[in-house]
Symmetry: C3
Subunit: 308 residues, 3 copies
């Protein structure tokens, strides 16, 4: 079975059945990366373009590896080595790339909605690899794959998301996806880092971290995006860390078998202590491995090609 949609732009409008199909497919593709020959011919002759307007190691590399393990050709385009430097508009760049007949364009862009513009204009499939403060659906999908893998199901779990909720596309995509899959979601962070429309998102809002993580199954820490904050929204990183850094003392309030997640890259000692990041509760590296599997699944499900 394939997805009945052209694009993955966000999880706000993706159904439980679709998410389940993606996670099931990722589950079955994951095994390829542990083979000695990590390659199947499924997407041979397909062209995948990674159009990254923002720097990225893990997401771009994860998509590139996913494409290559399915035998697709991957082309990387990033602002510094492209005519984006010449001031071409996003739309003209998109139309130009479309004319080269790629099969799928993966885009990361600092402007919320950029992938949606491409999706409307182009006949090719578009995957949002992170747009501004909006969505980062493949991150949420790999997070959900990791939760399901460890907990058996997502339904009925309680997940606390902690950090700068307002400026986190990871938080937003996870909120949509987790609620769709039947989890209860708590968000926690300083008031200035809470989105204005949080009341309409179906989550419990907390400002105190100990309260927020009491009895939860999953704690999802967010990265403080220093590089995006031109003026500071919070007194100091030290003060932020005192209230919101997940350390071993705070974690005792959660369930005994709590999972700790982080999308990376980690600011050690700011949002998460090294002992927790590297400790037994942490599934941070499982998330990365599942990232390749989820992206392989999306490439497979969005593109026509050989059945697995």
């Amino acid at each position: 079975m394939k997805l009945a949609r052209k694009d993955i732009l966000g999880l706000q409008d993706v159904s439980r059945e679709e998410i389940t199909l993606i996670l099931d497919t990722a589950d079955s593709l994951k095994e390829i990366s542990s083979r000695s020959i990590k390659k199947v011919p499924t997407l041979r002759g397909k062209t995948v373009i990674n159009l990254f307007y923002e720097p990225s190691t893990r997401t771009r590399t994860s998509f590139e590896i996913a494409a290559k393990r399915l035998s697709a050709d991957a082309i990387n385009i990033s602002p510094t080595t492209s005519s984006i430097a010449k001031g071409e508009t996003l739309i003209d760049t998109a139309r130009t790339l479309e004319s080269m007949s790629p099969d799928i364009i993966i885009i990361r862009h600092s402007a919320s909605g950029a992938p949606h513009i491409l999706a409307r204009l182009l006949s090719q499939s578009i995957i949002n690899a992170g747009d501004g403060f909006h969505e980062h659906p493949t991150q949420a999908l790999l997070d959900m794959l990791t939760i399901r893998e460890k907990k058996g199901t997502i339904e009925g779990l309680t997940v606390a998301i902690v950090g700068d909720i307002a400026h986190s596309r990871v938080a937003r995509s996870n909120i949509y996806g987790l609620i769709t899959m039947g989890a209860s979601v708590r968000v926690c962070g300083p008031a200035l880092m809470m989105p204005r429309d949080i009341g309409r998102m179906g989550v419990d809002v907390h400002y105190d971290m100990e309260e927020a993580i009491r009895g939860v199954d999953v704690i999802m820490m967010l990265r403080i995006q220093f590089e995006r904050h031109h003026n500071s929204r919070y007194p100091s990183t030290r003060e932020y860390a005192r209230s919101y850094c997940l350390n071993e003392a705070k974690i005792t309030g959660a369930k005994k078998d709590v999972m700790v997640m982080h999308p990376g890259p980690i600011n050690r000692g700011i949002e998460i202590s090294p002992e927790v990041a590297d400790g037994p509760y942490s599934v941070i590296l499982d998330q990365v491995a599942n990232g390749v599997a989820v992206r392989m699944a999306l490439l497979y499900l969005l593109l026509p090609g050989e059945q697995l």
Copy 2:
């Protein structure tokens, strides 16, 4: 049949028979990009190096896609991530790359003549992907493929090229190629943007745009290269646009079935109005698609390999 030359450095010395062979081959290769599996094994085991000293989206991506659709291995080298940062001379870089046994080197360089230096020194085939203000032969070839596709032939057509003729490698290559193929060429732009040797190039020179495009079959607009002009050659972009921006009013003077071309990226509202760029006369996106086909043709024709 293959080309009987080692390199494509410019169109000044390329014969009508050679251009026809390239366009015919591109025509037959173009269909590969519309297949579900966009890949043929023709150049398997060949190594193509993209050596880009200037930033580029469309040209570099176009060559990379062309190489991969023919199953060649493509290696990208650009100044910012290379030892060019260490001040190595072009010649030493070229000799170094040669010793790694690539089959073809595609070079873009800000210095006119850089590809010619490589071609003389190296045993491998060299394709000029744009050198300074000199030539950009693959752009002119894709332009001619597009004209031939739409008009059936190039012979006997009248083509107006409008913009900064003096600093346009696209203009120069098109002038050589179009005249070789039997077209009449008019050039048009402000006097300061006209090359000194224009009188010897076999074209009609115009300074008034309405005159220049009267009755023509093809209008080829050039990009104003803001990024290359350190001191301004013209009062202002607004004034430039008033005289030379192709808009719907001006276009009425041309033939009813005139084609409008632009090598991209477009400065909308400066050299071309959005209505014209996106309108029915525009073949700008066909040019991009033909770029992949022409580059596949050149890689195929310059390299020994399986017959198609």
Copy 3:
């Protein structure tokens, strides 16, 4: 036969048998690059990551070409287009990449010991592509392959290494490797460019170049790393060149069939005169060709895969 070690971090602890196996394998793989179809399926489905924290043309390209000629998938990661820009630690980057199941990580880093950290932490094979002022083992291996190819053997030869010994990872790796293979090594340079522990390295130390190269079989010139020296260690490049630039006058003191080597990129007229660099004694371009062969050999010998 394969190597019985996981990583190649330096040549200090690599045995004569291991070096011989690497050079023999490189010898037999070298022929692939002269075929019309330069590709064997040996490492199909393997993932090779080039993690380059410092800019490089020759080394990165050499590894990428080596990987592709063995049919491995090569992924390039460099600081400017990665989350390294976000301040992630080397260890977190390494762990993240590990979780994507590559088979081998090739790392260049400005910090001595960076590859060793990765090797200890990760299950994958690590190849040091240059770490700070420490080691650059693949350069020394390609140098030794070139010497063996031209001289038949390394044992019993006398090799002079000239330049900034203290800050040269090329010198250090060659000293270890050449001595292991039975050569006598002389080092030569200004006193301020001599490492403090040079007395314990088993080499003859010279400050006068004519003395140093008298009667030698091989002269290995080092690059003056202008880009790494923030404050000058030597009066001027002109004065440096007068004492240590290898020119035709100086070379007459060496053996008649002396070989001249340089790891590139060359500073012409500073450490080596153009006549010598391009002259009959020079094997600089053979070194580059052998670089691809040695890197193919290491990828082959470190990874399980089809026998050749």
